[in-house]
Structures are given as structure tokens and as C-alpha cells.
């Protein structure tokens, strides 16, 4: 089933970690397997990276702790090798880390995130969850309260966020199968999806041939990489999303988000739900209205977007 939620404040920063936790927790019944957040804090000059060195349910064998230590040392080593200055390294759990980096500019001015992601993911079991100036993706097993407590998200302030509660149907219950997906290798782009894609393998092969990598066996990851590919060809987020209505098969409602915009797309059958609330200072959308009510506890006017609709809001 899965549940998705999105929140964009147009009047400055708010406690989006707390708000999104409330939204996702109220939809726990739509998917108790795992919960994920893509949160956008204030944009700084440093690059934020979230990554894992093992999955939550990786067997804890005798070597486990040693391996984590060894791999973490390798991560820092390779980052320095790429010319990065490593600032705050935080271990959020025994296997999930958050790092702030300063990177040398590559040609074009922006640092080469693909090179970093590829170099780090070459380390066994290492998975880069997100890389960007303000995007931070946090995902783990359990409901929203569990994940939010584990990663101390309640105090996270920012302007917009999306989240996902997962009922695993197409792939395993693990962190790599959890949403949101970062649109590798694009800075600050993430996607959550409710539905199933039926031309998954076609698109996966096509995108792999053009140099993209996939972290998981999950069909939803296609959307993130698909949008990333379109945007690297110069399309805007909205245009890329419109193209996806034609080119992706299956049933879907997905939310895509960048550092200054949040968009939602529904398939041509309107098979998956979405309830939308819009006012001058906030846009809230979710699979069920109770999620919106969890942050706006008053009578509000909401509606369901129609089939084949793409809506994008700028921050």
C-alpha cells in the first residue's frame, strides 16, 4: 500500500522533522515496514552526505564491528583522496553516518558528486543515501516515531520535506529498498513513490547503459534516476515529470523534490490516492487527509488531484 507525504513552507524555516514525523506516524497503517525522510535544511556552502555501511538487518557476525570500523576508515580515506575536507562526522546509528564536506569545484563550478558516490560505493556494503547542499535522506526500518527517535529528527528545521511509509511488495524489507530515493548523482533531488511500475526492467537497463547506478531492486528507484537523467539533459523538474506520465507504465503517485521546488505526479488512471492542501504559507500533501490534519489541526479545504496531473510548487 505505502503512504507518501510532502510539506513545503513558503514562509521560512519550520520544524519540518517534527511535522513530517507526525504526518508519517498517522499513516503507519499504510506501511509499517520502513519509514524514510528527505529533509531540506538551510543551504550552506558545505556538502552534506548521509550514507550507510551496513543494512539494519545485516547479520551481526563476529567480524561485523571490525568491518564497519575498517570501512568507515576507508570512506574517510577515499574522501581525502578526492580532495575533500571532512568536517563533522556523526555516527547516527552503528551503521548510518552523516558527514559535512568541503569539496573542490570540478569543471563547471559544482563539485563532482558522481565521482564521490561511485568511489565510496565501491567499498563493500557502502551506500550513499544522499548528497547535496541541503538535502538529507534518512531511512530505516520501523515506524516514523522509531526512525525519528533513532536519528533525532524532531529538532530538524528546514523549509520542505517529503516522507514515505513503506509496505514492501516488490522488494525486500531493508534500508536500500526504503524510500525516499536520491536522484543519483544530482545534488538535492529526491523522490517518494506509492504504486508499482511495470516497465521497471526496461528502464533499468536503459538507464544503466547511460551510466546510472541502482542501489536497490526497488521499482521506485527508477523514478528518481529517470528524473535525474531528464534534468541532466536540461529539462525542468516539471517537464521531466510530465514526460514520466507517458514513459513510465504502471500505477503511481509520486512526489519529487529539489532544493527549491516540490512536485507531485499522478498516473493516467488516478489509481493511487493523494489529498492536497494549499494555502499562502504552506502546501501539505499526503496519501490520506489524517496526515495533513496531524500538522494542521483545524477544518481545512482539501481536494484530490485528478489523473495525469503534474503540480509543482516553488518554495
Amino acid at each position: 500500500m505505502c503512504g507518501i507525504a510532502g510539506l513545503i513552507y513558503r514562509d521560512g524555516t519550520h520544524e519540518i522533522g517534527r511535522d513530517l514525523t507526525r504526518m508519517l506516524q498517522s499513516m503507519k497503517h499504510r506501511g509499517p515496514d520502513s519509514t524514510g525522510y528527505a529533509l531540506y535544511g538551510p543551504r550552506g556552502h558545505r556538502i552534506l552526505m548521509r550514507y550507510t555501511l551496513a543494512d539494519a538487518n545485516t547479520p551481526r557476525d563476529f567480524e561485523f564491528a571490525d568491518r564497519l570500523r575498517r570501512h568507515q576508515a576507508q570512506v574517510l580515506d577515499r574522501l581525502r583522496g578526492l580532495g575533500a575536507t571532512v568536517h563533522d562526522v556523526e555516527a547516527e546509528t552503528e551503521y548510518a553516518y552523516r558527514i559535512e564536506l568541503e569539496l573542490p569545484a570540478a569543471n563547471g563550478g559544482e563539485p563532482d558528486l558522481k565521482a564521490i558516490a561511485d568511489r565510496l560505493e565501491d567499498i563493500p556494503d557502502c551506500e550513499v543515501l544522499s548528497l547535496g547542499h541541503s538535502l538529507e535522506i534518512v531511512k530505516d526500518l520501523g515506524d516514523a516515531e522509531t526512525v525519528s527517535d533513532q536519528y533525532e529528527l524532531k529538532g530538524f528545521t528546514g523549509t520542505h520535506a517529503i516522507g514515505h511509509v513503506r509496505m514492501a511488495t516488490e522488494s525486500d524489507v531493508d534500508i536500500s529498498g526504503a524510500h525516499p530515493y536520491w536522484a543519483y548523482p544530482f545534488s538535492d533531488v529526491a523522490v517518494v513513490h506509492n504504486g508499482q511500475l511495470t516497465n521497471y526492467f526496461q528502464w533499468k537497463r536503459r538507464l544503466e547503459r547511460s551510466g546510472h547506478r541502482f542501489q536497490s531492486e526497488c521499482d521506485s528507484e527508477i523514478i528518481a534516476v529517470y528524473l535525474a537523467e531528464k534534468m541532466s539533459d536540461g529539462a525542468s523538474l516539471e517537464d521531466a515529470m510530465r514526460d514520466s506520465l507517458e514513459e513510465l507504465d504502471g500505477v503511481f503517485t509520486y512526489i519529487a523534490v529539489t532544493d527549491d521546488a516540490l512536485g507531485v505526479a499522478k498516473d493516467e488512471m488516478a489509481a493511487k490516492p493523494l489529498v492536497l492542501y494549499e494555502s499562502d504559507d504552506v502546501v501539505a500533501l499526503a496519501s490520506e487527509e489524517i496526515a495533513i490534519r496531524a500538522v494542521l489541526d483545524r477544518e481545512i479545504e482539501t481536494y484530490d488531484p485528478y489523473e495525469s496531473e503534474v503540480l509543482v510548487w516553488q518554495r
Binding site: R22, H29, E289, Y306
Partner: protein, 262 residues
Amino acid sequence: MAAVGEQRITYDARGLAEPNAEAPRVATVEDGRATFDAHDLTTRQINLELRRLLYEEGITDVTVLNPGAKHSLGVGILTRCRLRFEGSLGYFGLGLIDGPEIVVTGRVGWSACENMMSGVVQVESNAGSLTGAAMRGGDLVVKGRVGARTGIDQKGGTIIVGEDAGSMTGFMMQRGRMIILGNAGPGLGDSMYDGTIYVGGTVKSLGIDCVPGEWTDADTELIERKFSIYGLGDPPELQKFVCGKKLYNYDNLEPAERKLVL
């Protein structure tokens, strides 16, 4: 921004986690009319309180304040009464009802009034997809817009929509009437067996075997009557759509069945 208090959210929208719930007995009764606030109650508590008032106390006029878009409220009410929800309902609201007259001042979510048997439901705002699914009788009036697949498998009654309707409206409709005052999405009346759909605005596309129908005096009479009952003003010009009966196989019984009938 008005937010919920700092307490941890414990509301379980499924209502499954409270098998031993009891009616909270929080309603105030005045002149035979009951009112209660649903804000801090769970789905099951709200429904049990409704049942207590309607079935045990014999009250026929109940107002529920702050339903807060919770799911599955007012389901399976099988007695004649007046209900008023001051706010919005979530998914699967007002399903399987037989008899009540209900007003919802906000909106309803997906699958509202599913399998409604009789009575009247008026929704002042919008409705989600699958509104009036498998409905068998009564009147369902949505003043705002409705989502996709409104009246899917409708077997009777009347659905009136004040604004637009989404895709596949009247999908597999079998009987009854649907009046859409706004525009209808693609696939209107797809695979319908019988029944009538009236549309005031434009139709994006007709579904398989849905064709324009011939307007009769009975249509005018029906439309005028419904419009006057629900205070919808003068009816606009409507187009009528019915089943083309190309896919119509009601009479093509299986040989064994035919023998039984003959």
C-alpha cells in the same frame, strides 16, 4: 500554524487496536438532539457513541463535531435518523448505510457511501475517488468535485456532483442515475450495463459502450425534482449518456441456465 499538542500521536486510524473499546458517553442531549466532540476520540469510540445514541437512547438527531478526517466514520447505520458531521471524513465514511439523512459540512475521502442502501447524504465540499461505489439506493449529493471512478458498479440511487468528476466515472454502472454538473474525465461510463449519466460540462472521452441517449420528459421531470429537493437552482443544459448495449450479455445465459429458466 496551529499544530497538535506536544504529545505523541497514538491515534490508530485502523481502529483495530481497540477491540475492547466502549462508548465514551460524552454526548450532551438537548431537546432530543445529541451533540458530541470527536476530536479526542478514536474511530471505534466515535462509532460506538453514535450507535449508543441511535440504537440504545433512541435519539434521531445527532451532530458530530470535529471528525478530523478520520476513516470509517458513520458506517453501517441502519436506522432512520438525522446525522450531521461538522467537518471532514476520511476514507470509507458512511458506508453500508440504510435510512439516515446525513450532512457532512466538510469533505469526504475515498469510498464514501460505499454500498449505500437508502437515505440521503449531502456533502458540502469535495469527495475522493470511488464515491458511491456499489451504491444501491438513496441520494448522494456532493456539492464540490469528486475523484476518479465515482459510482463504480452503481446498482441504484442517484449521485449528484456539483463540480467536476475524474476519470472512469460510472465504470461498470448497472442501474441508477448520476448527474454531473461540471466536466467529466476520460472514460465516462466505461463498460456500463444500464443506468443513466447526465453531464452538464464537457466530457473528456466516453468509455467503451457508453453512448449519448435520447432525452425524454421523464429525464426533465427527474432533473427538476432533484434540483428543487436539494436547492440547486435552475438545472443547466445536460447531456444524457446511456449504455450502447454492444457489450450487453444479460440475455446470453449459459446453456445450463437457459434450460433452468425455460
